[in-house]
Amino acid sequence: MKEQLEILKKLTSLDGVSGDEGAVRDYIISLVRDHVDDYYVDNMGNLITYKKGSGSGLKVMLDAHMDEVGLMVTKINSDGLLKFQTIGGIESRVLVGKRVRVGEKGVPGVIGFKPIHLQSKNERSGAVDKKNLTIDIGAKDKEQAEGMVEIGDRVAFEYDPVEFGDNKLMAKALDDRVGCAVLIELLKHDYECDIYGCFTVQEEVGLKGAKTAAFQVNPDIAIVLEGTTCYDVPDTKEHSMSTICGKGPALTIMDRSVITDRELVTHIVKVAEKNGIPYQFKKTISGGTNAGRIQVSGTGVKVAVIAVPCRYIHTPVSVMDISDFENMLKLAKKVLESLPVSMTLYREQGGIENV
């Protein structure tokens, strides 16, 4: 498991804010190219890999999104400070005082804020307005800044991965590099069904990459590998905790984007119980995943979501329990090895397979 964890750490250290996933994709290609039969990058930037199975012909799509939430430079002020907008769901409170990397060159910057000494009483107690925040890249003026960054550059949080405490990992972008790490490992093994490993783009800005990936792959089944919300900390009532860190990978029954396939989820639960792998159900119905897009692609796809609970996602740093990562890997692998199971497939009833 050491190797897989090191890959995950490396993945989180790369920057891939939505629409700019190239660095993450290149690293993934270097790891999987020798384990798959074919791969290509589509027009949106999705990496689609194919691994022929030993028989059944069941088409299984595995999805993990490469992109992370971040910022984009929108304007360079005359004083050399950068205005920005958020990419994906980030609220301004978590931005203040954070270190960032700007653009392909990773220009270091910091989201500065007025020190407490200089704040008025109102400024101290009120919420932070995103409009008043800028990124300081240490440039003396606009001209110098223009030589370092460009408008449209993506901005990623600067946060090295750290193993700490009781088998925990803190890192940026665990949503969804943890899914990517699981998918990379899954592609190293052989299965009976045909596997389409899809590393998708632009999930955080509206589940976009998965839409075109699913259209190309046209799978029977899809399993979405994710990092999901977790807030199992004091002052949260137990019924409001979406997942609990360390209690195993979380399965989605329903969220804002999808109601997962009952047959498939029941099968995953059976596999988990048979192999003694811990699992939990995600308790809140907030948020969405690529499963929402994949399910309604073409003539429909049977979908499930398996996710590692990650505290503080969509902030500069999140925390997961390493055992959840290990168990998600075990569970996903066992599930793939258990396929095909008897399922009602539309194409087997003479439904249109490919339009």
């Binding site: 029954i253 109601i259 997962t260 009952r262 159900f281 809140t284 309604v296 429909g300 439904g351 249109i352």
Partner: protein, 325 residues
């Protein structure tokens, strides 16, 4: 026909769990159609073959309900909504799970402003004395629907889940009548409409019909001090002009109005500001599909008890039969 309505309305089928409804419908019409298929989303697609145009008629099988998110140590169930449910509208109401387990919906009573009630301050009491006792009959992720019988009174039906079992009943009755036509008729019973018009999207993609109608309920403007809407219960099924998800294709709308006028079937024009129907996802599927809708005017939609007029229901069957000729 009331018996069909009753049977369908009383069958358990919240979004994503429509299998039992599909089984009932299959049992009723399988001998009257040429082919029956189920796709990945659980849509039931029944075809009456013909050489003419492909016409898709869609009614959704799913009903609104609740989903269990947590079971506490005392055996109370916490939940979220499945589809459009108002927190204050379900206090004190009875719910039932697929296995027959019955519960009562209530709220944390120290939250006194009921208008601002949220689901996370509410729970379902299934009379379990502990988590262990509750877990014997209900799991996290299980769904419940509202309980309520189906009755006929003054020619009008009061029931749970008329949205959209009434549309399903209309299509079932039509399939049983087997109207003569050269056109190929797709009776499509869709899934997951209440959570985002999802099933109809994949069903339409697999069929790519020449035209499509959503057969659903619409709101009315005939109850005291309600929002104005020019639709009255009992004045006939509606020809949809628009709803929140679709603007009907003019050809489809005209064909419906012609069919009604030539056959002396009463109808009303429907302009629904809010709420969507399966037509919303069908019309933008594949290269675009001319779509519209026929609705049964219904009072108290998305309430625990909804109501429709039997004359409207029967005339909807007549209107659709005339439309597909």
């Amino acid at each position: 026909m009331f018996d069909i309505i009753k049977k369908l309305a009383q069958t358990f089928g919240p979004s994503g769990n429509e299998k039992k409804v599909a089984e009932v419908i299959t049992g009723l019409i399988k001998d009257k159609v040429d082919d029956v298929k189920t796709d990945a989303l659980g849509n039931l697609i029944c075809v009456k073959k013909g050489a003419g145009k492909k016409i898709m008629l869609a009614a959704h099988m799913d009903e609104i309900g609740l989903i269990v998110s947590h079971i506490d140590e005392k055996g109370f169930l916490r939940f979220s909504n499945v589809g459009g449910v108002h927190p204050w509208g379900i206090v004190g109401k009875r719910v039932v799970f697929e296995n027959g387990t019955t519960g009562i919906v209530w709220y944390e009573e120290d939250k006194d402003d009921i208008k601002n009630l949220k689901f996370d301050k509410m729970y379902i009491d299934i009379m379990a004395k502990s988590a262990q006792e509750a877990e014997k009959v209900v799991k996290v992720g299980d769904m419940a629907v509202f309980a309520g019988d189906t009755i006929l009174q003054n020619g009008r039906v009061i029931s749970k889940a008329l949205d959209d079992r009434i549309g399903c009943a209309v299509l079932v009755q039509m399939a049983l009548n087997a109207p003569e036509t050269d056109n190929e008729i797709y009776y499509v019973f869709t899934t997951q409409e209440e959570v985002g018009l999802r099933g109809a999207r994949t069903a339409a993609y697999g069929i790519v019909p020449d035209m499509a109608l959503a057969v659903d309920v619409c709101m009315t403007g005939d109850i005291p001090n309600c929002k104005p809407m020019a639709v009255r219960m009992g004045d006939g099924p509606t020809v949809k002009i628009k709803d929140g998800s679709v603007i009907s294709h003019p050809h489809v709308k005209d064909r419906l109005m012609d069919a009604a006028e030539k056959n002396g079937i009463p109808y009303q024009l429907e302009v629904m500001q809010h709420g969507g129907t399966d037509a919303g996802s069908i019309h933008v599927t594949a290269g675009g599909i001319p779509s519209g809708g026929v609705s049964i005017p219904s009072r108290y939609v998305h309430n625990v008890a909804e109501a429709v007029d039997m004359n409207d229901v029967e005339n909807a069957v007549k209107l659709l039969e005339a439309f597909v000729k």
